[in-house]
Subunit: 355 residues, 2 copies
């Protein structure tokens, strides 16, 4: 049975990528060797790393604009720490839009004073705060572009003279933005870019070197930049599969094409959530994420029936996060419109059944 | 042509593992989903993580002895930092046996005073220092069991009342030792355990909690222990392939069986190095590594000929590291005796050719 994978992350990647990624385990580039057994210093892998970095910058339209792309380890959780290590001298401003922002704030507090400019915690993070100001005396401003758990997404970003740092783990490469507004963009690979195990960090080089502390080698962006992400052995396979996925995005028409399809999928599902009396959306309408749609049953007594229906139809990963309950449909780049239609049909079938 | 992979790391893994690892990219556990697209919180993956941790402890005979096995990200280079973050209050003792020890010392110095109890730097690290004493007032003693670059290996470990911390990146699971002498053992996966991208850390729990500093979440062993290596998204695929390799080691007879084969391979190659007048070993005889044999030509003028010979015979990764020059044959667990015989034959062919 065809699977419809709505998992929040790690999540669906293109089938074409899986095919090539599987073959490379047996024989990479007709070398007679597996990609898992070759040196990261081999010409074959160095060219993978170069292409991955180059594609990331190209797709974000950041080539020749003073940015470096790094593929590091440790996930966004390690970036919470590295951001502070590299940029936080005295004080930084954070926007708190959910679990990940809160974790970023917690780690940064070990390094300096944190001003939480606004928070949507008062309503279980179901919206994005909009009227806040960024103090003049901060080292940087940090925000989370998309909140996987709560299903909210920042549609606009503040204009500020301070370095703008953004965790785009769950919506990078999914929509067009003026990425040159940002000074650091970071993203765990395991949504729109590749398998778990590598983290893309895009750094505008001129913001580095301004803190007085000594930074441990592995925590320092400058170390990794000086060694082109090869200061130590990188996560070879995760970088390789990310490169394949970035190639796929480019071949499909780049971020613009992804955005068009993502908007279609989101419109289809949110329209049904709004139309169908059995369901209600969780996030504030204007802040709804095109990546993660969070919704609940209006009458919880239908839960068992609906769960049986979608599980029986080959749908995977539709359960909501425990902080929100209900359902979460994660509709990353590789998910087809057809898969969303399957869920919409199931929602309509439930409505008919219940009547 | 059959490949003989002597790469220093990432390196050869068992062919059986590649086969299963390749299949799981297309369909994991008959789920209809790729292992790259499933949630790390899914029952299927949680059981992979559990089995990997359990096998690691079992193979090292450390079950029910107060140890935890963690699969983290960031390589041994991140452990250089984490060791100091978690254990170094004032002073620590390090044995310097090469590039990796030196890097570990450099990172630890940011956190406290480091006593280098001995170093073999005077002879380009071609031996393991033996007569040294560990001061009474240190928080721990750190050493590197095997030095990939220089081809030396510690055959004995000091007896000390201080916590014993060891970087076993390049020889873990390759030989029997009383592993319960150690308080922390860490190893980047990419030698005997799996692909690059995950790091095994075995921690004796009762040595934690003794430093006064606040430790960032991702740097804290206690954080990772409390979440069974799932504080954040782990390197799913690297952990999975490590589990397959650990299963393979167990099926083959455990570490004891690996050690027997590794000794045979090392004996075969070192005998030829000592016998053949065209070659000389780099490392001191009593400290020779069974994992990485370093050797040079006695007459460099044969280099072009010999390089052509082994490259033409399907041998991969025999070039020495630039710090030593010459050749390095890395003979990890998955390398067959047959592959070593191929190199020995080539060395003998060169001898005949030159005569």
């Amino acid at each position: 049975m065809k699977k419809h994978n709505f998992s929040a992350g790690p999540c669906i990647l293109p089938q074409e990528v899986f095919k090539e990624a599987s073959q490379a385990i047996l024989d990479f580039n007709n070398s007679g060797l597996s990609i898992l057994e070759i040196s990261h210093r081999s010409a074959d892998f160095v060219s993978v790393m170069d292409e991955a970095q180059s594609l990331a910058l190209e797709l974000l339209d950041l080539k020749d604009k003073g940015y470096k792309a790094l593929f590091l380890q440790g996930g966004a959780s390690t970036q919470f720490l590295m951001i502070a290590y590299n940029l936080l001298e005295k004080k930084a401003a954070y926007l708190n839009t959910g679990t990940w922002s809160s974790k970023a704030i917690k780690e940064a507090k070990l390094f300096g004073e944190i001003v939480e400019v606004a928070s949507s915690k008062d309503k279980n993070f179901n919206y994005i705060p909009k009227s806040y100001s960024i103090p003049d005396d901060v080292d940087y401003f940090h925000c989370t572009s998309n909140n996987t758990i709560f299903g909210t997404q920042m549609k606009e970003f503040p204009t500020t003279s301070k370095p703008l740092v953004c965790d785009m783990s769950s919506d990078i490469f999914s929509r067009t933005l003026d990425f040159s507004k940002f000074d650091i963009i970071y993203a765990g690979a395991q949504k729109n870019m590749g398998p778990a195990g590598t983290t893309l960090v895009i750094v505008k080089e001129d913001i580095l070197g301004k803190v007085s502390r000594e930074i441990p080698s592995m925590m320092s962006y400058s170390t990794h930049i000086s060694k082109d992400s090869m200061f130590n052995t990188p996560a070879v396979y995760a970088v390789y599969v990310s490169m394949l996925t970035l190639r796929w995005i480019k071949a499909k028409g780049g971020i613009k094409a992804m955005e068009e399809l993502n908007n279609k999928k989101a419109d289809l599902l949110y329209s049904e959530i709004d139309r169908n009396p059995l369901f209600k959306g969780f996030a504030a309408r204007e802040d709804r994420s095109a990546m993660n749609a969070t919704f609940n049953l209006t009458d919880e007594s239908h839960k068992e029936t609906f769960d049986k229906m979608w599980k029986g139809a080959g749908v995977n990963g539709l359960n909501g996060h425990r902080s929100v309950g209900g359902y979460r449909a994660s509709m990353y780049n590789a998910l087809s419109l057809e898969s969303v239609q399957v869920v919409v049909d199931l929602m309509q079938d439930l409505e008919k059944k219940v009547k």
